[in-house]
């Protein structure tokens, strides 16, 4: 027993470890990444970064079939990738407990959509647990594994950004539980081989399982009634509960930690105790619609917003508007929002992606120097998910699509086949390429595409905080392993025009990318350079005031270290990555930006 301050993700990981998890698999994705990062620190279990979420799910499922407790974690959209084995897990059921954590991102802090993954629990007909803070995240893990084993089902644990990335006090238990010894895989044709004849038998078992789970959750101690004055009763789960507590201080609560299937009798009993029944939930009316279908009158999305992350502010405002709260709290004084410059995320100084985007921005006629007329854009640049998505923002403006992991290559081919007149380039990172770009490239080669694919190989999964992947030669638990080399991989797929170019060599980059784009065959350009966050700074770079004519060309790199100050161009030495980058030195038309070495040579 110890008291610790843990994030939701740390608590989920520790909870799983203490509950005896043996195998864990994941692909990094905000806000879920730290779950596997934390598990990989325990050397007495196996934890891996899988190439993608589908593979992670399959690894988890295999481990479960072999009899051990296993865990798979991913961000909400990761479950789309893992959808196929996820559904398969539901119909075959498990042997060792199998827990699937999905970390949703209401408010889209770092995601392309805010899908509500609770629907997946209903779709797959499996139970779902939802913690409201780090303590609950820790506490529910032994339940999740136990439910999985007792009911022969995968169990979904749904977190959200505000749970995963909030720290709160956790009282931990007695340490790691020793689960029964691994019995190994037991042959069971009708359970594990989903031929139609077996699946026919399994489906009624799934339906029966759901009925048993519905009965089980009626008495589950994790679902609690918190008595209030009885005028207003609120059914809620997850972080929405914590927010609602701040706003409705007198209300009664039915706080559900198991939010699928719903405890219908408990809900009816609670509804009978209160005058007015509300449902407060983030995103979709998931619980509300089911409760209404029970014939119970509730107020939910009539007043709570359907989109975005909830907060005490938003709930309070909605409640006042709906007449559920009599007055606004006094501290809400009138405040006029000042107009201030925004501070959007940007490429780091010395980023290996900057040079490629500068070239694409130039070839695609995207960047506009102040005072110059805007040109018609050329090229179509299909994009992907990673740090390099920021290349879509000014001043580079060099990405035209971004849908989901690996989508850019397929999109590029689709545009070509649709007869698009502009040349088409797909830009994808190394980790994303290994995640789901490979199949797109195989498809493009097979179907005689002539697109160009640029793989930005920074040798890490940078966006989510530098996780290892099959191209880095290191496993999640820090062991050395074989490296999947991109060049032979791409050649093996059947691409003949393959170039490998240094990320900080602008001249070669421009010539190579131009050559590939305008060639008549499918081409791949691998742009190689380590992530700037992992590189050491070297040598100073400065502007020679006598030579600089303030043409502003260097500003078009979008480098945070270069700025315009009282009409002068200044390079901030505390930010600049130095000679190891020197992109600005290479692009200055007047040779006014110099390295210390240049200066010494003169």
């Amino acid at each position: 027993m110890a008291k610790k301050l843990l994030s939701g993700n740390e608590a989920l990981a520790l909870g799983a470890y203490d509950a005896g998890v043996m195998v864990a698999a994941a692909y990094p994705g905000t806000p879920s990444t730290e779950i596997l990062e934390n598990l990989s620190g325990f050397k007495d279990i196996y934890a891996e970064w899988s190439t993608n979420e589908k593979v992670a799910m399959e690894v988890g499922l295999g481990a479960s079939y072999a009899g051990v407790r296993s865990l798979v974690s991913m961000k909400h959209v990761g479950l789309n990738v893992a959808g196929d084995p996820f559904m398969a897990a539901s119909i075959t059921g498990v042997k060792g407990g199998l827990v699937v954590i999905t970390a949703d991102d209401p408010g889209m802090h770092s995601s392309q959509n805010e899908q509500d993954n609770r629907h997946y629990a209903r779709l797959a007909k499996i139970p779902m647990l939802e913690p409201a803070d780090s303590q609950e995240a820790y506490d529910i893990m032994p339940y999740a594994f136990a439910i999985s084993e007792e009911f022969d089902t995968p169990v979904m644990v749904r977190s959200t950004t505000r749970i995963s990335h909030s720290k709160s006090v956790v009282e931990t238990g007695a340490g790691r539980m020793i689960t029964k010894e691994n019995q190994g895989f037991e042959y069971d044709f009708s359970k594990f081989v989903m031929l139609p004849s077996c699946a026919h038998k399994r489906h009624p078992i799934m339906e029966e399982r759901l009925l048993k789970l519905a009965e089980y959750c009626e008495t589950l101690p994790l679902n609690k009634i918190i008595e209030g004055d009885g005028r207003i009763g609120i059914i809620t789960a997850g972080v929405a509960y914590s927010h609602a507590c701040e706003v409705f201080t007198e209300a009664s609560f039915l706080k559900l930690a198991m939010a699928y299937p719903l405890p219908k009798r408990l809900i009816k009993r609670f509804a009978a105790q209160v005058d007015k029944l509300l449902v407060i939930e983030e995103l979709d009316p998931f619980m509300e619609e089911q409760i209404k279908a029970m014939g119970i009158d509730v107020i939910g999305k009539d007043f709570i917003p359907l989109t975005g992350e909830l907060s005490p502010d938003i709930i309070e405002e909605a409640a006042v508007k709906a007449g559920l709260l009599s007055q606004k709290i006094e501290t809400k004084v009138d405040y006029k929002e000042p107009k201030l410059p925004a501070r959007p995320p940007l490429f780091c100084p010395g980023c290996p992606h900057s040079g490629t985007y500068h070239v694409l921005s130039g070839l695609g006629q995207r960047s506009n120097l102040p005072g110059k007329t805007k040109k018609e854009p050329k090229l179509v640049i299909t994009g992907d998910i990673g740090c390099y998505t920021l290349g879509a923002l000014p001043p580079l403006n060099a990405m035209d699509t971004c849908a989901c992991m690996g989508a850019g290559i397929g999109q590029a081919l689709g545009m070509e086949k649709a007869g698009e007149n502009e040349r088409i380039v797909a830009v994808i990172g190394d980790s994303t390429f290994l995640h789901s770009g490979i199949t797109g490239l195989v498809n493009a080669v097979y179907n005689k595409g002539r697109i160009t694919v640029i793989i930005l190989d920074n040798r890490t999964t940078a966006m989510t905080g530098h996780q290892e992947h099959p191209g880095t030669g290191v496993t999640a638990q820090g062991e050395t392993t074989a490296i999947t080399e991109l060049e032979p991989l791409v050649r093996g797929i059947g691409v003949e025009d393959v170039k490998v170019i240094n990320a900080w060599d602008i001249k070669t980059l421009r010539a190579g990318i131009k050559d590939s784009i305008y060639s008549d065959e499918l081409s791949v350009v691998i742009v190689r350079g380590a992530c700037a966050v992992r590189k050491k700074k070297s040598g100073a770079i400065f502007v020679d005031e006598k030579l600089c004519n303030r043409c502003n060309s260097c500003l078009m790199l979008g480098c945070p270290a270069i700025r315009k100050q009282d009409d002068r161009i200044v390079i901030d030495a505390s930010l600049c990555a130095g000679e190891s980058c020197s992109l600005c030195v290479q692009i200055c038309p007047r040779k006014a930006i110099k390295t210390e070495a240049d200066d010494a040579a003169v």
């Binding site: 507590c245 005490p312 502010d313 809400k332 410059p341 501070r343 315009k564």
Partner: protein
Amino acid sequence: MQPYNLIIAGVGGQGVILAGNIISDAAMSAGYDVKKTDTLGMAQRGGSVISHLRISEKVHSPLIKRGEADILLAFEKLEAARWVSWLRPGGIAVINNQELPPLAVSLGEECYPSDKEIMAVIKSRTKEYYIVDGAQITTGLGNIKTLNIFMLGCLSRFLPLGENVWKENIAANLPQKVVELNMKAFKWGGQAILHKKTEKKNG
């Protein structure tokens, strides 16, 4: 103890997250309930970073309602102006007197607000503000990376946590070789506030 709601604001790379973690650890080790949440967006570096941190006997939501923060600890001036509306009227603003221009300003497309403009925004919300030269002082000490601990030194003058609690939790969160320098930064932060308080008193 009265409940404390803190907003910590700054720019990615300034050590905002670690500062919040240390405050949380310190408050927990003093026996309080704590919840802390960060909003990072997509940026590794260079974007706006804000943490909500709540200390009380029992904390429910990790998010502070707008207009209910007791203290704003701002690592950068523009971010101070951006988040000051979260303070309750009369709440305390501790602001590091440092200017980090966002990209639109570097590109010459927008202007960084003048000190006068920033102070007008701050003063419209509170008169309890303290402007400290954290960047300058920590650079003088030998490393601007100690800015976050300097800011904790400032904050320590407004929170009822003992000096030992602060020092233990700072040491526990930093590599051994930088602890000594950071302890200096912590001390200088505290003194910067004492100095400002005396100035205020003497008008």
